[in-house]
Subunit: 194 residues, 2 copies
């Protein structure tokens, strides 16, 4: 129970709960231990859950008609991840979710997410604020894609997310930045020569 309580203090950092509340929340969370290469969700499936990443590394990616992968998001410790276009509207996934490093996750369904907000309104506030931060980050990413070159985006990426850069393959980073592995390789070369 104490051990289990500690995961809530990770997920909902800074909040405290009554024993009753903690039990209620825990009853909605399911722990998953997954290996590298596992798939959490496939394009076309109904999106029922979102996932809290306790450790490891996960990504969501979109596959276009020509078979190219485009990484939308990486998630490491303390991030939430899902196909949110599907999750929020309870429709089919347009993306895939893939474990790229052995991971411990906690999953919760859309219905239970809403139930928690209803029962414990300050969870809704907590979640809203998390989402505000994520919303701002995605807006900044759009601005970066409009205003900066591939090289600048790469430099910015390794500055913002050094812990991710160390853990993922270069082709994952390339597909996140919107360039090919060859281009990324050439950019990396230029940077070492400077």
């Amino acid at each position: 129970m104490n051990i289990e309580k500690s995961i809530l203090s990770e997920i909902y950092k800074g909040m405290s709960f009554s024993c009753e509340e903690a039990l209620f929340i825990e009853s909605k969370l399911e722990k998953l231990e997954l290996k590298k290469g596992a798939t959490l969700l496939k394009n076309g499936e109904t999106v029922l859950h979102q996932y809290y990443v306790y450790n490891g590394c996960v990504r969501t990616y979109f596959m276009d008609r020509s078979g190219k992968e485009h990484t939308l998001q990486f998630a490491v410790n303390d991030w939430w991840i899902s196909d949110y276009t599907g999750f929020f509207s309870s429709t089919k996934a347009i993306m895939n979710i893939e474990i790229i490093q052995d991971a411990t996750l906690y999953k919760i369904s859309r219905k239970d997410t809403e139930a928690l907000f209803c029962e414990i309104p300050r969870l809704e506030t907590f979640f809203r604020k998390k989402m505000e931060g994520a919303f701002a980050s995605f807006q900044q990413r759009i601005l970066a894609s409009l205003a900066t070159s591939a090289k600048e985006r790469y430099v910015s990426f390794i500055g913002l997310y050094p812990q991710i850069e160390q853990r993922v393959k270069n082709y994952h980073i390339a597909s996140y930045l919107g360039i090919t592995t060859e281009s990324l390789s050439r950019i990396r070369k230029e940077l070492t020569q400077e």
Copy 2:
């Protein structure tokens, strides 16, 4: 009072309020009537407000070092707009907000937004759901910028937002799509020839 009440039924469509609640909400909203060309917010200013667009058209744009403008968002009837990177963290704006068609807006401060959520929790739920939709849209825009050509993005834009396409200048659309006005002109020419 009845007239004023109707703006709440626009902003918070589908919700109903007690007389007391309605007065409280209205006390936090300030109506603005602005002319085309007006600037609501400038890069560097502290972001204190967000704006509900009742009518007219507004955009947020980022200006890069070389002076080029990059449109992040258009807002027409029933959209909210602000520099959300600044609004959510109460810091300085990185973008500008410009009226591009005579507009009627209702502005509310960050502090009052939070006060409303606190006093009337179902407003927080309402706002969260609006934001979930916007969040999903921005994610899809990132995927589109990663996976599709300028021409495809333009076709998709006029399909998704015909009411915006009619109201804004071509150079606004170009700066939203991440291309030059010349390229957009050539794309439009190609499309009429098909």
